[in-house]
């Protein structure tokens, strides 16, 4: 049996890949995918804990996260398409309309 630590490490690695992807990549689609990666990193640790503690609530939470992530993906992609139509680019450095 694989010990809990391994799962947690995997989770952390996946999460950190997501974080670095989000902070360094300039294409908005890839940043978006990095966000998904972070969510899945969290999911892994939730399931690992759920199994380890024999508590189903962790898995239930994961289902919620997957559902919400799906919804978020749909809306997020829609926003990205709208943005792309306006600016003809997916490069995030050209989007600073919200500057103060």
């Amino acid at each position: 049996m694989v010990p809990l630590n391994w799962y947690l490490m995997l989770s952390a690695v996946v999460f950190m890949i997501g974080v670095f992807g989000f902070l360094t990549r300039k294409n908005i689609i890839i940043m978006f995918m990095s966000v998904e990666l972070m969510l899945n990193g969290v999911n892994i640790s939730l399931i690992a804990f759920s199994h380890y503690l024999q508590d189903m609530r962790g898995q239930i939470l994961v289902f919620f996260i997957i559902t919400v992530a799906a919804a978020e993906a749909a809306i997020g992609l829609a926003i990205i398409i709208a943005l792309f139509r306006n600016k003809s680019t997916a490069h995030v450095d050209e989007m600073n309309e919200m500057k103060g």
Partner: protein, 639 residues
């Protein structure tokens, strides 16, 4: 009681009818309502006089005006000897002047408005004299002031008229300021503002002192002087006399009714009514006497050189009012009221005659443009001459008796300043005769000095105007006969009648002294008339040479001692300057607004600096967030 309610409320009803219906319905008939109302009041007032002569006095409340805790005040009426005399003076003068006005105001576009105001005035004046408490007195007091404001500014499209009305009201407010505080002091002292308990308890406070604004002062002196502030304003005594000459901007019947016969004497009435309080303070009495004496001298000297016929009479009024205060100040309240009563007739008559002259001269007021009018307007001439004889104190006329009584009581009374004010009074008697006959001679004698056009128009006034003149003339001659002194074989009925309210004035002197005082004042009067005759008819060049010789004095007199200019310089302009430049310019704009607008500005400036942090780049925010999380995690791990 119920009948007596008619006295004030008939004129009130007339006012309401005229003001509501006058413009559209009554129009040229508006005077009927007012005249009938005041005639009704007069009839009831005569009944009231008869009742009081029989010894019946009335003191009743009509309804509770307002109550707050232990402060209670009603609308109520007191009819005693003093009130009854005032009622007769007010309603008689008012009625005759109402009638006179029908002719004088004929064809004026505000005809109904004029009569409405006259009725309102009569109502307020009657409320004033009939009050049984100080607050209702104050109501009437302010009410007559308001009517005076309306009527002075009757020709409101003229700037000078509206200025004069406003000035009258505001100057009076200065006096009322003291009067109001006096009422408050009365309430705080006695716990009530009704005359009866106040006067009954006053003696018990004779030696009390009170702390007023940090000073320990004699209580009764304080109250008396505060009340006297009101009198100074209303009766145009120094230093608040400035409004009365300007008040001559109003129509002449108004000057006769309000600014000669009735309203301006309210101050004297107040002092007489409060005689139980004044008598307890020697200081207050002295102030009253000296104020009266100085004012009467001061106004008489101004009257000598004025050329405006109405202003001369106005200064004469101020001077005569000073006489009345002089009387009250030496403790001779009944003599003061007696003079008030005779003065009402001859002074109203003088004004109405002046109005008649103006009517003939198409509004001309300058004495120097008149002359020789006696052949054109005999009735006016004779009545005005008789009125002048009366004011000059020629024996037999009303003015003689009242003036003589004042001078005698000043001379013989216990007042420490009695001899001094007697001296001033005698000089004033001389001056009064001089300026009164200057007016007569310049107006009616000699040659006409106006334009031909004016001369062509000269005419006697219509009957509706001359009949009131004749009736008032009877009063100017005969009204004094009720107070013929014992010395001349009379019964001094007036003083006796007033005794229950005003007490008996003390005079200690021998008969020969009394004859001497009388002789001196008669000589003063006749020498005034003689000098006027000499200077203005025989040797008309003398006044011109005198004016040239003493040009500085003449200029000061002509400019009324520059009191108006002094007030304008000292009060009016500084107040507006402070408002404009300091309060609005500095306090509001530079201090308060600077703080109020400064704080948002400072916040805004700070925001301008920190907005730079918001770059708008998604990844900057994300980096900051990530860094923040790292720091938090680091803190948690290393703790």
């Amino acid at each position: 009681m119920n009948n007596y309610l008619l006295i004030p409320f008939l004129p009130l009803a007339a006012f309401l009818i005229n003001i509501l219906l006058g413009r559209n319905f009554l129009k040229e008939k508006a005077h009927w309502v007012s005249i009938l109302a005041v005639a009704g009041s007069w009839v009831v007032a005569v009944m009231a006089l008869v009742d009081t002569m029989a010894g019946k006095t009335i003191n009743e409340d009509l309804y509770s005006w307002f109550v707050s805790g232990n402060f209670k005040v009603s609308v109520g009426f007191l009819i005693d000897q003093l009130t009854a005399v005032m009622l007769i003076v007010v309603t008689t003068c008012s009625m005759l002047i109402h009638i006179y006005s029908v002719g004088y105001m004929h064809g004026d576009k505000g005809f109904y408005r004029f009569f409405a105001y006259l009725s309102l005035f009569t109502f307020c004046m009657l409320m004033l004299v009939m009050a049984n408490n100080f607050l209702q007195l104050y109501f009437g007091w302010e009410g007559v002031g308001l009517c005076s404001y309306f009527l002075i500014g009757y020709y409101f499209d003229k700037k000078s008229a509206s200025d004069a009305g406003k000035k009258a009201f505001i100057v009076n407010r200065f006096g009322d300021f003291g009067f109001g505080l006096g009422i408050i002091m009365i309430f705080l002292t006695f716990g009530t503002v009704y005359y009866e308990p106040v006067f009954a308890q006053a003696g018990g406070f004779a030696n009390h002192t009170v702390n007023f604004l940090g000073y320990d002062v004699h209580l009764m002196t304080l109250i008396a002087l505060l009340l006297f502030c009101g009198s100074i304003g209303k009766s145009a005594q120094m230093p608040l006399h400035v409004w009365l000459p300007d008040a001559m901007e109003g129509p002449t019947p108004v000057s006769a009714l309000i600014h000669a016969a009735t309203m301006v004497t309210a101050g004297v009435f107040l002092v007489a009514r409060c005689s139980p309080i004044f008598s307890l303070s020697e200081t207050a009495l002295m102030v009253v006497a000296l104020t009266g004496a100085i004012t009467s001298l001061f106004a008489a000297t101004i009257g000598l050189v004025q050329n405006d016929i109405k202003r001369i009479i106005a200064y004469s009024t101020i001077s005569q009012l000073g006489y009345m205060f002089l009387a009250c100040g030496v403790g001779a309240y009944s003599a003061g009221v007696f003079h008030l009563y005779t003065h009402a007739f001859f002074k109203a008559l003088l004004f109405l005659c002046a109005g008649s002259v103006m009517h003939a001269m198409a509004g001309e007021l300058n004495l120097q443009k008149m002359g020789g009018l006696k052949k054109y307007m005999p009735v006016t001439y004779i009545t005005m001459l008789l009125a002048s004889l009366s004011i000059a104190g020629v024996p037999g006329f009303a003015g003689f008796f009242s003036k003589d009584e004042i001078l005698w009581l000043a001379y013989s009374g216990p007042s420490p300043v009695g001899k001094l004010v007697w001296g001033i009074g005698t000089v004033v008697a001389f001056l009064t005769a001089l300026y009164s006959f200057r007016l007569i001679f310049l107006t009616f004698h000699g040659k006409f000095r106006g334009t031909h056009e004016q001369e062509h128009h000269l005419h006697e006034s219509p009957k509706v105007m001359t009949i009131p003149l004749i009736l008032l003339c009877v009063g100017a001659i005969a009204s004094g006969w009720v107070g013929i002194p014992h010395l001349l074989g009379g019964g001094a009925h007036f003083t006796e009648f007033m005794k229950p309210v005003l007490g008996h004035p003390e005079g200690h002197g021998t008969h020969s002294e009394e004859w001497m005082v009388m002789a001196v004042s008669v000589i003063a009067g006749f020498s005034g008339i003689g000098l006027a005759y000499f200077m203005y008819l025989k040797r008309a060049d003398i006044p011109v040479r005198l004016a040239a010789r003493f040009s500085a004095v003449h200029k000061i007199l002509l400019n009324k001692y520059y009191v108006d200019e002094f007030y304008s310089f000292l009060i009016v302009r500084p107040a507006i300057w402070i408002a404009k430049n300091i309060l609005i310019g500095i306090t509001d704009a530079k201090i308060i607004e600077a703080i109020v607008n400064g704080i948002p500005k400072a916040i805004g400036g700070f925001s301008q600096v920190i907005r730079k942090v918001q770059t708008g780049f998604l990844q900057h925010y994300a980096t900051i967030m990530a860094t923040g999380i790292l720091i938090i995690v680091a803190i948690m791990l290393l703790r």
